[in-house]
């Protein structure tokens, strides 16, 4: 029974396939039915089904409201088409700042400023502190410098004493004697300076002893 039905269906399918071919080539259903008188009833039923399906399809139309709503939603979409894409790439190549670049650069600068500003403030404060500290110590240092300068000139004078070479000439010998005496005078002067330096030192030590009070600690 099932086999009979299957065979029957296969036959109908084959006929239907041909009949649909005729319809597609422009023949009317009536013309096709004449070609298959044995299967006319079945074909008639199938054609009416087709007709109904077609009508169903034709009568189903989306509402205007839905149509407009969809196109509105689509228009809100920001797509990157080829043209927009190439424009974007061209901008990048020509070095014109794009919106994305401006935002990124601003963010980079802001993040750098977050570090630079506190570091700068600390540096300025440190500089101010160092300068104020130097000013308080300035008089002592200047005194020390003067003494050091005196010492420096003495040692320079010593290094400049050069004895002339013996030539056997009387005039040269007299000149040498004069030079030696002047050297002795400069050496004397140096000794005087040394004595003054020692006096200054002892004075500084005595000042320190006066200002230092062990009980204050």
């Amino acid at each position: 029974m099932n086999e009979n039905n299957q065979n029957q269906n296969q036959k109908v399918e084959a006929v239907l396939s041909e009949a649909l071919g005729h319809l597609e080539s422009g023949k009317t259903p009536a013309e096709v039915l004449i070609l298959y008188p044995e299967h006319a009833t079945i074909l008639q039923e199938v054609f009416s089904t087709l007709n109904f399906l077609k009508k169903e399809g034709e009568s189903l139309v989306p509402s205007k409201e839905f149509f407009n709503k969809t196109i509105y939603n689509v228009s809100l979409e920001d797509t990157v088409t080829e043209a927009q894409d190439s424009r974007y790439i061209r901008k990048e190549v020509e070095g014109r700042p794009s919106e994305v670049n401006i935002i990124t650069k601003t963010h980079e600068i802001m993040s750098k400023l977050k570090i630079i500003i506190p570091v700068g403030i600390v540096a300025v404060l440190a500089l101010m502190f160092v300068r104020s500290d130097v000013r308080t110590n300035l008089p002592t240092l200047s005194n020390g410098n003067e003494e050091q300068k005196n010492l420096q000139t003495t040692s320079d004078t010593e290094s400049q004493i050069n004895l002339p070479a013996a030539t056997g000439d009387v005039d040269d010998a007299v000149d040498a004697l004069f030079l030696a005496s002047s050297n002795e005078a400069s050496l004397l002067n140096d000794e005087t300076n040394d004595a003054a330096y020692l006096t200054a030192d002892s004075q500084a030590i005595s000042d320190f002893g006066q200002s230092y009070d062990a009980n204050s600690f």
Binding site: E24, N73, V74, T81
Partner: protein, 189 residues
């Protein structure tokens, strides 16, 4: 088919691809109703059909720059995206279709002032037809909708469903015989 030859969809696709929104608008007008019909008959629910149709056009708008016009007709492109969107929807939301195939009323825009009796008869026949379509296999359902509701040719259906024209012809004949049997048994009852 339904394809408006004067509008030259391929040319419109090229223009839309290069950023011409007016061209996209024309394509939208051209394919909105066929896509909606296809989706509606596949999912059997007007709300779902509206959501999916909207998604289809958003997807097309987003991906239009990837459209390669050498082999694919714009019509196939739209329908393929619609088909894939429905399949994706089924994967994520399995209850698109109602299990018994009869729970949803076959909603349609009414003809001009039909009488209450005509409307009732039409709705009743529509429900029966819809129920009969739902009893077909997925392949048969798809081919019947594309061929007889959307009016596409076998050549146009072929790239959408990924089958040869001959295979499509066989599927549609088998589907029509099944539909006829289902409707006949219903009338006999």
């Amino acid at each position: 088919m339904a394809e408006d030859r004067d509008a030259n969809p391929k040319e419109l696709m090229k223009l839309a691809k290069s950023g011409d929104n007016q061209a996209f608008g024309k394509l939208y007008e051209l394919y909105f109703t066929p896509v909606f019909k296809y989706v509606y008959f596949r999912v059997k629910d007007s709300a779902d059909a509206e959501d999916i149709t909207q998604t289809v056009f958003l997807k097309v708008f987003r991906s239009i720059s990837n459209f390669k016009d050498q082999n694919v007709a714009p019509l196939s492109y739209f329908f393929t995206i619609a088909r894939n969107t429905i399949i994706d929807g089924w994967r994520t939301k399995k209850e698109f279709t109602v299990a018994n195939g009869e729970a949803n009323v076959f909603e349609q825009i009414p003809d001009t002032d039909p009488s209450p009796l005509q409307t009732a008869e039409k709705n009743e026949t529509g429900k029966i037809m819809q129920a009969a379509i739902q009893k077909l296999t997925d392949d048969q359902k798809e081919v019947i909708i594309l061929k007889f509701i959307n009016g596409l040719s076998n050549k146009e259906i072929s790239p959408i469903v990924g089958k040869s024209e001959e295979a499509i012809r066989q599927i549609q004949c088998r589907a029509l015989v099944s539909l006829r049997n289902i409707l006949k048994s219903h009338n006999d009852i």
